[in-house]
Protein backbone atom coordinates (compact mmCIF):
# COMPACT_ATOMS: atom_id res chain seq x y z
CA UNK A 1 0.00 0.00 0.00
CA UNK A 2 0.95 3.62 -0.37
CA UNK A 3 2.57 5.37 2.48
CA UNK A 4 0.43 8.03 3.99
CA UNK A 5 2.66 11.00 3.27
CA UNK A 6 0.74 13.58 5.20
CA UNK A 7 -1.87 13.67 7.95
CA UNK A 8 -3.73 16.63 6.59
CA UNK A 9 -5.86 16.17 3.55
CA UNK A 10 -4.48 18.20 0.69
CA UNK A 11 -6.47 21.41 0.58
CA UNK A 12 -5.36 24.81 -0.50
CA UNK A 13 -7.96 27.30 -1.74
CA UNK A 14 -11.63 26.73 -1.09
CA UNK A 15 -11.60 24.17 -3.84
CA UNK A 16 -8.44 22.36 -2.74
CA UNK A 17 -5.37 21.46 -4.72
CA UNK A 18 -5.33 21.23 -8.50
CA UNK A 19 -5.85 17.73 -9.83
CA UNK A 20 -2.43 16.56 -11.04
CA UNK A 21 -1.77 15.92 -14.71
CA UNK A 22 -0.88 12.50 -16.14
CA UNK A 23 0.31 11.51 -19.60
CA UNK A 24 -2.13 11.10 -22.48
CA UNK A 25 -0.30 7.81 -23.14
CA UNK A 26 -0.03 5.96 -26.45
CA UNK A 27 -3.69 4.88 -26.75
CA UNK A 28 -5.66 8.13 -26.91
CA UNK A 29 -6.62 7.86 -30.57
CA UNK A 30 -9.86 5.88 -30.40
CA UNK A 31 -11.14 8.16 -27.64
CA UNK A 32 -9.90 11.60 -28.67
CA UNK A 33 -9.33 11.42 -32.44
CA UNK A 34 -11.52 8.48 -33.32
CA UNK A 35 -12.63 9.42 -36.83
CA UNK A 36 -9.13 10.47 -37.87
CA UNK A 37 -7.86 7.03 -36.81
CA UNK A 38 -10.87 5.26 -38.39
CA UNK A 39 -12.57 4.06 -35.21
CA UNK A 40 -16.34 3.83 -35.13
CA UNK A 41 -16.96 6.66 -32.66
CA UNK A 42 -17.83 10.26 -33.45
CA UNK A 43 -14.96 12.62 -32.67
CA UNK A 44 -15.19 15.93 -30.89
CA UNK A 45 -12.94 17.79 -33.28
CA UNK A 46 -10.58 17.11 -36.14
CA UNK A 47 -8.28 19.08 -38.38
CA UNK A 48 -10.91 20.90 -40.44
CA UNK A 49 -11.09 24.00 -38.30
CA UNK A 50 -12.94 25.65 -41.17
CA UNK A 51 -14.68 24.16 -44.14
CA UNK A 52 -12.26 24.93 -47.00
CA UNK A 53 -15.15 25.07 -49.46
CA UNK A 54 -16.64 28.04 -47.58
CA UNK A 55 -13.41 29.86 -46.94
CA UNK A 56 -11.55 31.55 -49.75
CA UNK A 57 -8.76 32.39 -47.32
CA UNK A 58 -8.26 28.82 -46.12
CA UNK A 59 -4.70 27.80 -45.30
CA UNK A 60 -3.08 24.47 -44.47
CA UNK A 61 -0.69 24.24 -41.56
CA UNK A 62 1.63 21.26 -41.43
CA UNK A 63 4.46 20.23 -39.17
CA UNK A 64 6.23 17.42 -37.37
CA UNK A 65 7.10 16.86 -33.74
CA UNK A 66 10.69 15.76 -33.00
CA UNK A 67 12.17 14.12 -29.92
CA UNK A 68 15.59 14.76 -28.38
CA UNK A 69 17.32 12.54 -30.94
CA UNK A 70 15.65 14.25 -33.87
CA UNK A 71 13.27 11.34 -34.45
CA UNK A 72 9.76 12.20 -35.65
CA UNK A 73 7.18 11.44 -32.96
CA UNK A 74 4.32 9.35 -34.35
CA UNK A 75 2.04 9.40 -31.31
CA UNK A 76 1.66 13.07 -30.38
CA UNK A 77 -1.65 14.88 -30.29
CA UNK A 78 -1.77 18.56 -31.21
CA UNK A 79 -4.57 20.94 -30.32
CA UNK A 80 -4.96 24.38 -31.87
CA UNK A 81 -6.99 27.24 -30.40
CA UNK A 82 -7.75 30.35 -32.45
CA UNK A 83 -9.56 33.31 -30.91
CA UNK A 84 -9.02 36.66 -32.53
CA UNK A 85 -12.28 38.14 -31.29
CA UNK A 86 -13.87 37.42 -34.66
CA UNK A 87 -13.58 33.67 -34.91
CA UNK A 88 -13.21 30.97 -32.27
CA UNK A 89 -11.82 27.80 -33.85
CA UNK A 90 -10.52 24.58 -32.34
CA UNK A 91 -8.64 21.76 -34.01
CA UNK A 92 -7.18 18.47 -32.86
CA UNK A 93 -5.00 16.03 -34.79
CA UNK A 94 -2.78 13.08 -33.94
CA UNK A 95 0.53 12.51 -35.73
CA UNK A 96 -0.18 8.80 -36.28
CA UNK A 97 -2.14 8.76 -39.54
CA UNK A 98 -0.11 10.80 -42.02
CA UNK A 99 2.53 8.79 -43.92
CA UNK A 100 5.21 11.23 -42.75
CA UNK A 101 3.70 11.55 -39.26
CA UNK A 102 2.86 15.20 -39.80
CA UNK A 103 0.06 17.11 -38.15
CA UNK A 104 -2.13 18.91 -40.66
CA UNK A 105 -4.75 21.60 -39.99
CA UNK A 106 -7.07 23.35 -42.42
CA UNK A 107 -7.96 26.74 -41.06
CA UNK A 108 -7.74 30.48 -41.63
CA UNK A 109 -5.11 32.86 -40.40
CA UNK A 110 -6.13 34.76 -37.26
CA UNK A 111 -6.23 38.55 -37.36
CA UNK A 112 -4.23 40.87 -35.14
CA UNK A 113 -5.81 41.76 -31.78
CA UNK A 114 -4.86 45.15 -30.26
CA UNK A 115 -1.75 45.43 -32.41
CA UNK A 116 -0.36 42.05 -31.29
CA UNK A 117 1.13 39.78 -33.90
CA UNK A 118 -1.48 37.20 -34.99
CA UNK A 119 -0.88 33.75 -33.50
CA UNK A 120 -2.42 30.39 -32.74
CA UNK A 121 -2.24 28.71 -29.34
CA UNK A 122 -0.87 25.18 -29.60
CA UNK A 123 -1.13 22.46 -26.96
CA UNK A 124 1.12 19.41 -27.33
CA UNK A 125 0.29 16.06 -25.73
CA UNK A 126 2.17 12.78 -25.99
CA UNK A 127 3.33 9.64 -24.28
CA UNK A 128 6.44 10.67 -22.38
CA UNK A 129 4.95 13.97 -21.26
CA UNK A 130 3.43 13.85 -17.78
CA UNK A 131 1.98 17.28 -18.41
CA UNK A 132 1.08 18.92 -21.71
CA UNK A 133 3.12 21.74 -23.25
CA UNK A 134 1.85 25.08 -24.48
CA UNK A 135 3.40 26.94 -27.37
CA UNK A 136 2.32 29.51 -29.97
CA UNK A 137 2.52 29.61 -33.74
CA UNK A 138 3.35 32.99 -35.28
CA UNK A 139 3.49 33.72 -39.00
CA UNK A 140 6.66 34.45 -40.99
CA UNK A 141 4.90 36.98 -43.23
CA UNK A 142 4.05 39.22 -40.28
CA UNK A 143 7.61 40.42 -39.70
CA UNK A 144 6.53 43.94 -38.80
CA UNK A 145 4.02 42.93 -36.11
CA UNK A 146 6.24 40.07 -34.93
CA UNK A 147 9.13 42.45 -34.30
CA UNK A 148 6.98 44.60 -32.00
CA UNK A 149 5.02 41.83 -30.30
CA UNK A 150 5.04 41.91 -26.52
CA UNK A 151 5.14 38.12 -26.07
CA UNK A 152 7.74 37.47 -28.76
CA UNK A 153 9.91 40.13 -27.19
CA UNK A 154 9.86 38.30 -23.85
CA UNK A 155 11.41 35.29 -25.62
CA UNK A 156 15.23 35.31 -25.86
CA UNK A 157 16.04 36.54 -29.36
CA UNK A 158 17.98 33.46 -30.45
CA UNK A 159 14.97 31.23 -29.63
CA UNK A 160 12.27 33.40 -31.21
CA UNK A 161 12.48 31.72 -34.62
CA UNK A 162 11.22 28.45 -33.09
CA UNK A 163 7.79 30.10 -32.80
CA UNK A 164 7.53 31.33 -36.38
CA UNK A 165 5.87 29.19 -39.02
CA UNK A 166 7.42 29.31 -42.50
CA UNK A 167 5.28 30.28 -45.49
CA UNK A 168 4.46 27.48 -47.94
CA UNK A 169 2.53 27.43 -51.21
CA UNK A 170 -0.81 26.87 -49.48
CA UNK A 171 -0.19 27.90 -45.89
CA UNK A 172 2.51 27.46 -43.29
CA UNK A 173 4.91 24.89 -41.91
CA UNK A 174 5.69 24.66 -38.21
CA UNK A 175 7.91 21.98 -36.67
CA UNK A 176 7.94 21.38 -32.93
CA UNK A 177 11.24 20.30 -31.33
CA UNK A 178 10.83 18.92 -27.83
CA UNK A 179 14.54 19.16 -27.09
CA UNK A 180 17.90 19.99 -28.68
CA UNK A 181 19.52 23.07 -30.10
CA UNK A 182 16.30 24.23 -31.73
CA UNK A 183 14.04 23.29 -28.82
CA UNK A 184 10.72 25.04 -29.34
CA UNK A 185 9.83 27.70 -26.82
CA UNK A 186 7.15 26.41 -24.47
CA UNK A 187 5.19 28.80 -22.30
CA UNK A 188 4.05 28.92 -18.74
CA UNK A 189 0.61 30.43 -19.31
Amino acid sequence: MLENTSNESPHRGLGGYQTPSQTVGPYFAYGLSSEQYLYDFKQLAGNQMVNPIDEKEAITITGKVFDGEGVVIPDAMIEVWHNDGEKQLFGRFGTGTDAQNRFIFHTVKPTSVNGQAPYLSIIVFMRGQLIHSYTRLYFADEAELNSKDEVLNVVPEQRRSTLIAAKTANGYHFDIWMQGENETVFFDI
Binding site: P10, Y30, S34, D40, L44, W81, M126, L130, Q179
Partner: protein
Protein backbone atom coordinates in the same frame (compact mmCIF):
# COMPACT_ATOMS: atom_id res chain seq x y z
CA UNK B 1 -13.00 39.45 -17.14
CA UNK B 2 -10.59 42.32 -17.70
CA UNK B 3 -8.50 41.86 -14.55
CA UNK B 4 -8.85 38.13 -14.20
CA UNK B 5 -5.61 36.19 -13.91
CA UNK B 6 -5.64 32.41 -13.76
CA UNK B 7 -3.33 30.63 -11.32
CA UNK B 8 -0.33 28.82 -12.78
CA UNK B 9 0.13 25.05 -12.57
CA UNK B 10 0.84 24.18 -8.96
CA UNK B 11 4.21 22.44 -8.93
CA UNK B 12 3.52 21.03 -5.48
CA UNK B 13 1.08 18.57 -7.03
CA UNK B 14 1.81 18.38 -10.77
CA UNK B 15 4.53 16.05 -12.04
CA UNK B 16 7.79 17.56 -13.28
CA UNK B 17 8.45 17.45 -17.01
CA UNK B 18 11.47 15.20 -16.75
CA UNK B 19 10.85 12.10 -14.64
CA UNK B 20 13.57 9.59 -15.65
CA UNK B 21 11.90 6.53 -14.07
CA UNK B 22 9.22 7.05 -16.72
CA UNK B 23 11.71 6.47 -19.51
CA UNK B 24 9.90 8.13 -22.41
CA UNK B 25 10.18 11.50 -20.68
CA UNK B 26 13.95 11.47 -21.24
CA UNK B 27 13.75 12.35 -24.94
CA UNK B 28 10.37 14.05 -24.93
CA UNK B 29 10.27 16.45 -21.98
CA UNK B 30 11.21 20.05 -22.76
CA UNK B 31 14.59 20.83 -21.18
CA UNK B 32 14.73 24.62 -21.36
CA UNK B 33 12.89 26.79 -18.85
CA UNK B 34 9.31 27.66 -19.78
CA UNK B 35 8.82 31.28 -20.79
CA UNK B 36 6.30 32.96 -18.51
CA UNK B 37 3.85 35.16 -20.41
CA UNK B 38 0.92 37.35 -19.60
CA UNK B 39 -2.44 35.69 -20.22
CA UNK B 40 -4.28 37.30 -23.10
CA UNK B 41 -7.50 36.62 -25.00
CA UNK B 42 -6.45 33.17 -26.19
CA UNK B 43 -5.46 32.00 -22.71
CA UNK B 44 -8.59 33.38 -21.07
CA UNK B 45 -10.89 31.57 -23.48
CA UNK B 46 -11.16 28.09 -24.90
CA UNK B 47 -13.46 25.83 -26.89
CA UNK B 48 -16.84 25.27 -25.21
CA UNK B 49 -18.49 22.62 -27.43
CA UNK B 50 -21.96 24.01 -26.76
CA UNK B 51 -22.93 22.99 -30.27
CA UNK B 52 -21.43 19.49 -30.12
CA UNK B 53 -24.18 16.94 -30.43
CA UNK B 54 -23.57 14.45 -27.60
CA UNK B 55 -24.96 11.01 -28.30
CA UNK B 56 -27.42 9.69 -25.71
CA UNK B 57 -25.08 6.78 -24.90
CA UNK B 58 -21.81 8.71 -25.08
CA UNK B 59 -21.50 8.62 -21.26
CA UNK B 60 -22.37 4.90 -21.02
CA UNK B 61 -19.43 2.75 -22.14
CA UNK B 62 -21.36 -0.39 -21.19
CA UNK B 63 -23.81 0.38 -24.00
CA UNK B 64 -22.21 2.72 -26.53
CA UNK B 65 -20.40 0.04 -28.48
CA UNK B 66 -22.57 -3.03 -28.10
CA UNK B 67 -22.53 -5.41 -31.10
CA UNK B 68 -24.03 -8.70 -29.93
CA UNK B 69 -24.29 -8.59 -26.13
CA UNK B 70 -23.05 -6.85 -23.05
CA UNK B 71 -19.39 -6.14 -22.38
CA UNK B 72 -17.69 -8.47 -19.91
CA UNK B 73 -16.35 -7.33 -16.58
CA UNK B 74 -17.36 -5.49 -13.46
CA UNK B 75 -19.84 -2.70 -14.15
CA UNK B 76 -19.01 0.56 -12.38
CA UNK B 77 -20.42 4.06 -12.16
CA UNK B 78 -17.89 6.89 -11.93
CA UNK B 79 -19.33 10.06 -10.55
CA UNK B 80 -17.82 13.35 -9.45
CA UNK B 81 -17.70 17.09 -9.64
CA UNK B 82 -15.52 19.55 -11.52
CA UNK B 83 -14.65 22.72 -9.61
CA UNK B 84 -11.80 25.21 -9.71
CA UNK B 85 -9.38 26.14 -6.93
CA UNK B 86 -11.73 28.90 -5.85
CA UNK B 87 -14.35 26.23 -5.17
CA UNK B 88 -16.58 27.33 -8.03
CA UNK B 89 -18.28 24.56 -10.01
CA UNK B 90 -17.43 24.32 -13.71
CA UNK B 91 -20.76 23.79 -15.44
CA UNK B 92 -21.27 22.54 -19.00
CA UNK B 93 -17.69 21.54 -19.55
CA UNK B 94 -16.79 18.59 -21.70
CA UNK B 95 -15.11 15.48 -20.27
CA UNK B 96 -13.71 12.71 -22.46
CA UNK B 97 -12.56 9.32 -21.19
CA UNK B 98 -10.84 6.26 -22.65
CA UNK B 99 -9.64 3.03 -21.07
CA UNK B 100 -8.69 -0.62 -21.46
CA UNK B 101 -11.35 -3.32 -21.23
CA UNK B 102 -11.75 -5.67 -18.23
CA UNK B 103 -8.90 -7.84 -19.52
CA UNK B 104 -6.48 -4.93 -19.76
CA UNK B 105 -6.62 -4.58 -23.54
CA UNK B 106 -7.09 -1.37 -25.51
CA UNK B 107 -8.91 -1.39 -28.82
CA UNK B 108 -6.01 0.72 -30.14
CA UNK B 109 -4.15 -0.83 -33.08
CA UNK B 110 -0.79 -0.27 -31.39
CA UNK B 111 -1.76 -2.30 -28.30
CA UNK B 112 -0.18 -5.74 -28.70
CA UNK B 113 -0.94 -7.08 -25.21
CA UNK B 114 -2.01 -10.72 -25.50
CA UNK B 115 -5.38 -10.31 -23.79
CA UNK B 116 -8.78 -10.61 -25.46
CA UNK B 117 -10.63 -7.73 -27.08
CA UNK B 118 -14.29 -7.46 -26.14
CA UNK B 119 -16.51 -7.11 -29.21
CA UNK B 120 -19.01 -5.15 -27.13
CA UNK B 121 -16.62 -2.67 -25.59
CA UNK B 122 -14.80 0.22 -27.25
CA UNK B 123 -13.70 1.97 -24.06
CA UNK B 124 -14.33 5.58 -25.10
CA UNK B 125 -16.93 8.02 -23.84
CA UNK B 126 -17.71 11.64 -23.13
CA UNK B 127 -20.15 13.78 -21.21
CA UNK B 128 -20.83 17.37 -20.22
CA UNK B 129 -20.95 18.48 -16.58
CA UNK B 130 -24.35 19.71 -15.39
CA UNK B 131 -25.03 23.21 -14.05
CA UNK B 132 -23.39 22.27 -10.72
CA UNK B 133 -20.29 20.74 -12.30
CA UNK B 134 -21.39 17.12 -11.73
CA UNK B 135 -20.64 14.33 -14.18
CA UNK B 136 -21.34 10.61 -14.37
CA UNK B 137 -20.08 7.74 -16.52
CA UNK B 138 -21.09 4.09 -16.63
CA UNK B 139 -18.32 1.77 -17.65
CA UNK B 140 -16.49 -1.51 -16.96
CA UNK B 141 -13.65 -1.58 -14.46
CA UNK B 142 -10.47 -1.54 -16.58
CA UNK B 143 -7.86 -4.28 -16.18
CA UNK B 144 -4.16 -3.83 -15.52
CA UNK B 145 -1.84 -4.20 -18.50
CA UNK B 146 1.89 -4.69 -19.04
CA UNK B 147 4.09 -2.09 -20.68
CA UNK B 148 7.71 -1.87 -21.72
CA UNK B 149 9.10 0.72 -19.34
CA UNK B 150 11.09 -1.77 -17.24
CA UNK B 151 11.14 -5.47 -16.38
CA UNK B 152 7.68 -6.72 -15.34
CA UNK B 153 6.12 -3.28 -15.61
CA UNK B 154 2.32 -3.21 -15.25
CA UNK B 155 0.07 -0.19 -15.28
CA UNK B 156 -2.37 -0.05 -12.36
CA UNK B 157 -6.06 -0.03 -13.30
CA UNK B 158 -6.90 3.41 -14.61
CA UNK B 159 -9.28 5.48 -16.69
CA UNK B 160 -7.85 8.29 -18.83
CA UNK B 161 -9.67 11.63 -18.50
CA UNK B 162 -9.49 14.77 -20.63
CA UNK B 163 -11.09 18.03 -19.43
CA UNK B 164 -11.39 21.48 -20.99
CA UNK B 165 -12.67 23.68 -18.15
CA UNK B 166 -13.07 27.43 -18.36
CA UNK B 167 -10.27 28.16 -20.84
CA UNK B 168 -7.05 26.71 -22.20
CA UNK B 169 -5.17 27.30 -18.92
CA UNK B 170 -7.65 24.81 -17.42
CA UNK B 171 -6.88 22.06 -19.93
CA UNK B 172 -6.19 18.83 -18.07
CA UNK B 173 -5.40 15.30 -19.19
CA UNK B 174 -5.02 12.86 -16.34
CA UNK B 175 -5.73 9.33 -15.13
CA UNK B 176 -8.08 8.11 -12.41
CA UNK B 177 -6.85 5.20 -10.30
CA UNK B 178 -8.66 2.82 -7.94
CA UNK B 179 -8.27 2.55 -4.16
CA UNK B 180 -6.06 -0.23 -2.82
CA UNK B 181 -4.39 -1.07 -6.13
CA UNK B 182 -1.10 -2.86 -5.29
CA UNK B 183 0.45 -1.73 -8.59
CA UNK B 184 0.38 1.97 -7.70
CA UNK B 185 3.54 1.72 -5.61
CA UNK B 186 5.49 0.45 -8.65
CA UNK B 187 4.07 2.73 -11.35
CA UNK B 188 6.46 5.50 -12.50
CA UNK B 189 3.65 7.43 -14.17
CA UNK B 190 1.64 7.63 -10.94
CA UNK B 191 4.81 8.12 -8.87
CA UNK B 192 5.85 10.95 -11.21
CA UNK B 193 3.35 13.03 -9.25
CA UNK B 194 4.82 14.56 -6.06
CA UNK B 195 3.66 12.73 -2.88
CA UNK B 196 1.24 15.51 -2.01
CA UNK B 197 -0.64 15.09 -5.26
CA UNK B 198 -0.86 11.31 -5.44
CA UNK B 199 -3.96 10.66 -3.38
CA UNK B 200 -5.79 13.24 -5.53
CA UNK B 201 -5.60 10.75 -8.41
CA UNK B 202 -7.16 7.84 -6.52
CA UNK B 203 -10.93 7.54 -6.72
CA UNK B 204 -12.94 6.61 -3.66
CA UNK B 205 -15.29 3.67 -3.46
CA UNK B 206 -18.68 5.14 -2.55
CA UNK B 207 -21.55 2.94 -1.43
CA UNK B 208 -23.96 5.89 -1.61
CA UNK B 209 -23.57 6.11 -5.39
CA UNK B 210 -23.34 2.33 -5.87
CA UNK B 211 -26.45 1.24 -7.75
CA UNK B 212 -28.14 -1.81 -6.18
CA UNK B 213 -27.95 -4.95 -8.32
CA UNK B 214 -26.21 -2.93 -11.03
CA UNK B 215 -22.88 -1.16 -10.55
CA UNK B 216 -20.25 -0.31 -7.93
CA UNK B 217 -19.80 3.42 -7.40
CA UNK B 218 -16.51 5.34 -7.45
CA UNK B 219 -16.23 9.03 -6.76
CA UNK B 220 -13.60 11.14 -8.49
CA UNK B 221 -13.59 14.93 -8.22
CA UNK B 222 -11.54 17.39 -10.26
CA UNK B 223 -10.05 20.71 -9.28
CA UNK B 224 -8.95 22.90 -12.18
CA UNK B 225 -6.78 26.01 -12.03
CA UNK B 226 -8.55 28.87 -10.27
CA UNK B 227 -8.13 32.62 -10.55
CA UNK B 228 -7.71 35.84 -8.58
CA UNK B 229 -11.37 36.87 -8.57
CA UNK B 230 -13.33 35.21 -5.85
CA UNK B 231 -16.55 36.87 -6.84
CA UNK B 232 -18.57 34.46 -8.91
CA UNK B 233 -19.59 35.78 -12.28
CA UNK B 234 -23.29 36.70 -12.35
Amino acid sequence: MSNIIYNRFDEEVHPPRLSPDYKSTVLRAPTKPLVVIKQSLNELTGPLFGDFNLGSLDHDLTKNSVKNGEPLGERIVVHGRVINENGQPIPHTLIEIWQANAAGRYVHKVDQHDAPLDPNFLGAGRCMTDENGNYKFYTIKPGAYPWGNHYNAWRPNHIHFSLFGANITNRLVTQMYFPGDPLLQYDPIFLGVPPKGRELLISQFDLSITEPHFALGYRFDFVLRGHNQNVQAP
